[in-house]
């Protein structure tokens, strides 16, 4: 059952991602992207990361993508410009290199029997207390500093976005 779900959602994720690249219309690209994120969320569920799956839909598909679509609408960019322009050689080189990289990464990633250390959380713990309880507990103890730094990061992002986009005389 899991395998079928995996293959199905994985396949859809790949197809939708490809559609993001190949769609001529920018809005379509963005919508394919939303679809792709949904399939990713399902994959996270399969991996029992429910919390992340929810976040994926709320933050990514919900907030970030809406943000992007809003920008596209505002700038009124439908069609990609310069379509007629010849494809530069460097792009061809790049795509070939990426295909090589694809093989390399497959060799890297697809192997068994890696012996890594385990912990600090087991599935049993998750089962016992619930994922959100465990995560939040750790977020505010072990990962407290990272959490605080993320707040600075987001502040910087907001300040930066405001400062760049505000209309100047």
């Amino acid at each position: 059952m899991e395998l079928i779900m995996l293959l199905l959602c994985g396949g859809f994720a790949i197809v939708t991602s490809l559609m993001v690249i190949f769609a001529k219309n920018t809005i379509h690209s963005a919508l394919w992207m939303v679809a792709s994120f949904f399939f990713m969320a399902v994959l996270y569920l399969l991996l029992r990361a429910e919390f992340i799956a929810i976040l994926q839909i709320i933050v990514y598909a919900g907030a970030i993508m809406m943000f992007i679509i809003y920008a596209i609408m505002m700038l009124n960019i439908r069609q990609e410009e310069g379509e007629k322009a010849p494809v530069r050689k460097s792009k061809v080189v790049g795509v070939v290199a990426l295909l090589v990289l694809f093989l390399e990464l497959l060799v890297v990633a697809v192997n068994k029997g890696v012996l890594a250390m385990h912990g600090p959380i087991t599935d049993q713990l998750m089962q016992k207390y619930g994922q959100i309880a465990v995560l939040s507990n750790f977020l505010f103890s072990d990962y407290l500093l990272a959490f605080e730094l993320a707040s600075i990061l987001l502040t910087a992002g907001v300040v930066g976005a405001v400062v760049l986009a505000k209309q100047k005389q």
Binding site: M117, F140, S141, L149, A156, V159
Partner: protein, 494 residues
């Protein structure tokens, strides 16, 4: 369902004191600016001065923490000699940048805002955390804090096409490279099961069979890409000249020194502490990278006529020199990198500070080499300062660049990389040509058009004097800082 017991984390303020001070200063600047009441057409130095106070306080706190050796926040932060030294470098960078910004904002009013100084300080916080991070997760967050702030800073002259282009290129490529870096982190995490730098090192010691697993090696390669991008290592250096040229001059100086220092700090921490066992494996490729980076940087710098672009290529070359210390890989080589980073901070910020002096009334910049013709005698102080910084970059004694290169190359020789050291020396001979050309133009050429330097504010005078003193101090009496750098490396948490 029973509840998980919440363990209140120990808040070790001392371990992150400089970062804390800078963050609070950043927020203060942002808030104070909201209530600032500006006369029309005038700029205010208030923001800059608050930033200066904060940075100086952070500098002192960083100096105070020298000698600490503890890991805090569940291993997220490693407060040791190394992170203290990096914090000192970043404070110096931030201080000199703020001082020149106070002058620069007169001609470029866009920079006269709380947001500018706020983002500058946030970037500095990110850089410091990069030096102190003991966990890849925090390291990534710190790196992104720095990067996002700097994407914005690069595009701060938001009406200038070059500035926008600079921000665009840095942003897209930075995000792209972050993807590679993250992929590398993921593979490393997959291979070892932890993101804690020290624990990874311990794990690899306990399980040597993992060292050459494909997962780990792939991770190492991809992380090299990510860090190499920030360090401007060949062939990930391509963004450097374009981004440096377009960004406001003071920001360029900040990027060239601060980002490089932070990237090298993180790179060293991850590679020497977590992946120290792979040193024999990476030596050959990093040797090649060091050689190509410095050679390409220097050679292309030769044919530049725009001084900011020239310094951008020269910063690539300096990344190459720094990699020589990395290839050497010994404690001495690592200490030499720290020493060189500090020396480079003084030198490069000094040089960019001088360039930033020549802002046009309409907010433009004089950046062509020929704009500098004849300025040496017209403005003797400026000419002298520029000569000092150029000599330091070229590595002519008694400026600090000479000592820095001396330590780097002798560490390489001691580790048996004589040829790399020889190529380094050849490269510094090549570089002499274009550095010298700046002074030649300044002193020995007649100006084609009248270039008038607006009156310099006291802030930048203080900044340039500090930078020049730093250059000379490190060049003439390097012992103290060299000992400190060695101490910093020795007290690194393994």
């Amino acid at each position: 369902m029973e509840m998980l017991e919440f363990v209140v984390p120990a808040l070790n303020v001392k371990a992150i004191l400089p970062q804390l001070i800078l963050s609070l200063t950043a927020l203060t600047v942002l808030l104070v600016d909201v209530f600032a009441d500006r006369e029309a057409g005038k700029t205010s130095a208030a923001n800059g001065l608050i930033a200066v106070v904060g940075v100086v306080a952070a500098l002192f706190s960083a100096l105070l923490t020298i000698g600490m050796r503890e890991s805090a926040y569940s291993g997220m932060v490693l407060a040791d000699g190394f992170s203290s030294f990096i914090s000192v470098i970043i404070c110096v960078v931030a201080l000199l940048t703020v001082l020149s910004s106070i002058n620069y904002q007169r001609s470029c009013p866009a920079l006269d805002s709380g947001e500018y100084y706020c983002l500058l300080l946030f970037a500095a916080v990110g850089m410091m955390f990069m030096g102190a991070a003991g966990n890849l997760l925090l390291l990534f967050l710190a790196l992104e804090t720095m990067s996002i702030s700097i994407y914005v800073l690069a595009g701060f002259r938001s009406t200038d096409a070059k500035s926008i282009e600079s921000a665009l290129k840095y942003f897209l490529l930075g995000a792209f490279a972050s993807g590679f870096l993250l992929f590398g982190f993921a593979l490393l995490y997959g291979a070892t099961g932890t993101m804690d730098v020290v624990k990874i090192g311990a794990f690899l010691t306990a399980h040597p069979e993992v060292i050459h697993s494909r997962l780990l090696l792939g991770g190492v390669a991809l992380m090299t890409v990510g860090f190499g991008f920030k360090m401007a290592m060949f062939p990930f250096h391509m963004w450097t000249p374009d981004v440096y040229e377009g960004a406001p001059t003071v920001v360029t100086g900040f990027m060239a020194t601060g980002v490089k220092a932070a990237a090298f700090a993180a790179f060293m921490r991850v590679f020497f502490i977590a992946l120290g066992h792979l040193q024999v494996d990476w030596t050959a490729i990093m040797w090649l990278a060091a050689f190509l980076t410095m050679t390409i940087g220097n050679v292309v710098a030769l044919s530049q006529t725009n001084i900011k672009r020239m310094l951008a290529y020269s910063s690539i070359a300096h990344a190459g020199y720094l990699l020589v210390g990395f290839v050497a890989g010994t404690k001495m080589g690592q200490a030499a990198i720290l020493f060189y980073l500090l020396s480079y901070a003084f030198t490069n910020l000094g040089a960019f500070g001088v360039i930033a002096l020549l802002a046009k009334k309409d907010g433009g910049e004089y950046t062509e080499l020929k704009d500098f013709a004849g300025l040496g005698f017209k403005y003797p102080g400026m000419g002298l300062a520029m000569a000092v910084f150029m000599f330091s970059m070229a590595g002519i004694p008694p400026a600090s660049g000479f000592m820095g290169k001396f330590y780097l190359f002798s560490s390489a020789i001691k580790s048996g990389f004589v040829w790399l050291a020889i190529f380094g020396v050849i490269n510094s001979v090549i570089s002499l040509y274009y550095y010298l050309r700046v002074t030649v133009v300044m002193y020995f050429q007649e100006a084609e058009e009248e270039v008038v330097m607006p009156k310099a504010s006291p802030a930048i005078v203080v900044g340039l004097v500090l930078a020049a003193l730093g250059v000379l101090q490190m060049g003439i009496l390097p012992s103290y800082l060299w000992d400190l750098a060695q101490f910093s490396i020795k007290t690194m948490i393994m």
